[in-house]
Point group: C2
Chain length 240, copies 2
Amino acid sequence: MPAEAAPSYLWVPGLGEAVDFVELSPEESHYLARVCRAREGDRAVATDGRGALATLRVLSLGSRVRAAIETLERPPSAAPRRRAWILCGAPEDQRGDWLVEKLAELGVEVWQPIECARARWRFSSGTLARWQRLAVAALRQSRRRYIVEVRPPAPLAEVASGLPAGAACWMADPDGQRGAPPSEGMGWTVGAIGPSKGFDPGEKDLLEGRAFKPICLSDGRLRTETTALAWAAWWGRGSG
Amino acid sequence: MPAEAAPSYLWVPGLGEAVDFVELSPEESHYLARVCRAREGDRAVATDGRGALATLRVLSLGSRVRAAIETLERPPSAAPRRRAWILCGAPEDQRGDWLVEKLAELGVEVWQPIECARARWRFSSGTLARWQRLAVAALRQSRRRYIVEVRPPAPLAEVASGLPAGAACWMADPDGQRGAPPSEGMGWTVGAIGPSKGFDPGEKDLLEGRAFKPICLSDGRLRTETTALAWAAWWGRGSG
């Protein structure tokens, strides 16, 4: 379906708890009225980014658009699904912005930048807000029901000890296994991508100790951000 | 191997025909001397981007570096290999630059932008030169033996009639087959990616008439450039 034929797709946190109508945030109101040029009476589709999906009808425009909820489908509580979690070292030239956008399009659910021995993220107070905006834009674009959770950078050892139990864990490695299929099963798959200069031996030991399996994603040497993307594309192919 | 431990990797067209030494282009000379900070006597690795691979030793620096060829391995003539060819409609916001870079890293050999009914490329005389520079940078980065051939945009019908015989052809399509494995065999695989608003029905018919099989690369709706990347990552996983 070409983009122009699809109804506008909105991110409305709190939608899952709403009853008859919603009031959109200033950002979503602007997007719907200015970018999508919606009018009163138009229909739109909305998600809370946590699995709920609704059909809305615009009641009134303005800085806070009001819309009636025509249909609302909440996800079955704790329904299992395939989920991806990325740990990623700093790429060169801080190419994090478009990486967040692309990973969100590909359906990754947790974006966790990691501080490594060989590279640290340049991260300021504005970075997280910018990533969050990119995540919303990618959610709208890809029309997904789950939004990526963007997290601030944290040390590898810290995040490695906080991963979900039972996750299938992979570490991108040019010497790793080729052609391994991603898990088709439900639950978390975690991908760890080193910074531009790679993981150091201690970091590799740490990941191997936590059962991260080495996987090779290309026959060439990929940049950090390309590796993360190739991993997410590999994971995404297993679904559906 | 961390990047700092690998010898510099250069693009030297004509290398395959060289005998004892080579004189580098001003661009590669600058890259080797200024970016890699090589000195006389240092070793470097070079490819012609057409399969030849050499070990060089720097004889003299300057605006045209001279280097001795220590070893030179030419590819067996017409040795078969897995090769990827991408036809790609215009993405939004002209995101072609990083797309060329990423496809080159992933090992795509032909980058063919296509003019479609719903979108045309903004293309100026500088675009091809810029793409060529990005292709060289990606060749160095990924340490490949084959450089991507960057082509100017051309109409879909024209390029579709000039594809290599026997190629396996795929068209990205949200309604296409999921989980199809890429061909492991040698030879060309062609991927056709629609512009941001998609192929129009006539274009789809044209591609189907040429045996392009629809393939779905994600359970979400991907942007054009993300689709091209996901396709190249999918293809690249089949190799090696």
